[in-house]
Symmetry: C2
Subunit: 172 residues, 2 copies
């Protein structure tokens, strides 16, 4: 993920934005900081997972399987749930299966599809890493009050709504 390391000062942003009539300096600053914090959190997770011998993708698959799919789920659903392509899921499952954290089974009703289940080893692995993982997640927001967390979620939601409506952006 490629994100600006030193976010320009408000003055620099003002100066740049002045050259473009539709630019909004505060909008630029807001998005730069959002991207920066988002990618920092992401990288923090990646490197922590790497220490544990997995990747963010593999962790997400395991969490999806653990969460509401204890009876097994198809790779397609995992792809949809993780917001990733089916091809990517195939690769993740190859690795997870090699490590015996997950197993592939034939589906009984549809001979095209397979059913993915988390193994006992996979569940034990999750149980071994989740306490620390959740402690780290809690740490990241530990300087925010509950009220502030709610506010942050609300403001992020407003941006999410704009993303959904990006096609409606005025042309000029």
């Amino acid at each position: 993920m490629f994100t600006l390391q030193d976010i320009p000062s408000s003055e620099e942003i003002d100066q740049l934005a002045a050259r473009y009539p539709d630019a909004n300096p505060r909008a630029i600053e807001t998005m730069l900081r959002l991207l920066r914090v988002g990618s920092d959190v992401m990288n923090l997770g990646e490197s922590h997972f790497a220490d544990l011998g997995i990747s963010t993708g593999r962790f997400t698959i395991l969490m999806l399987l653990n969460r509401k799919y204890k009876d097994g789920v198809s790779p397609s659903e995992l792809a949809e749930g993780g917001g990733v392509s089916r091809a990517t899921v195939t690769g993740l499952l190859d690795n997870l299966e090699r490590d015996e954290l997950v197993k592939r089974e034939h589906a009984s009703n549809d001979r095209r599809s397979i059913i993915i289940k988390i193994t006992d080893k996979g569940l034990a692995f999750l149980d071994s890493i989740l306490p620390t993982h959740f402690r780290r997640v809690a740490w990241l927001t530990s300087s925010l009050s509950d009220q502030e967390k709610t506010t942050l979620i609300t403001l992020l939601g407003k941006i999410a709504q704009q993303i959904e409506q990006i096609e409606n952006i005025p042309k000029t």
Copy 2:
């Protein structure tokens, strides 16, 4: 970037977190939403830049060169400014130079280093895409008041501080 598509409901998060003493359900929800919005914004940018024939990385390099480095800057500084490895910068510069948006020159004082300058074609390219780019950025935060933008930046800053101090996280 691999981020949960459907963020679990508060109830589901509560249920999961109940099994781990140090887990904070609101923290989990906050971080999931931050990651989700961050990656959506990132993907939106990636696909827009792809339509324009560049990548986020190449765009960032051009913006760094345009911003305060009109007299040229070394690849190392670009790597630092973009928060990316020198090896990655080498590849980005190869592509940018091939498209004549950037040129490599020998440094006069240090024969190890080279100086990167944005070309007139590169400047013209930026001028052709920035109005639309900034309009899209403004759109994303257009449902937030200035006060809300400030609040969001403040809250993100608090998370950034926790990231910096991740090593100080209590062990138990």
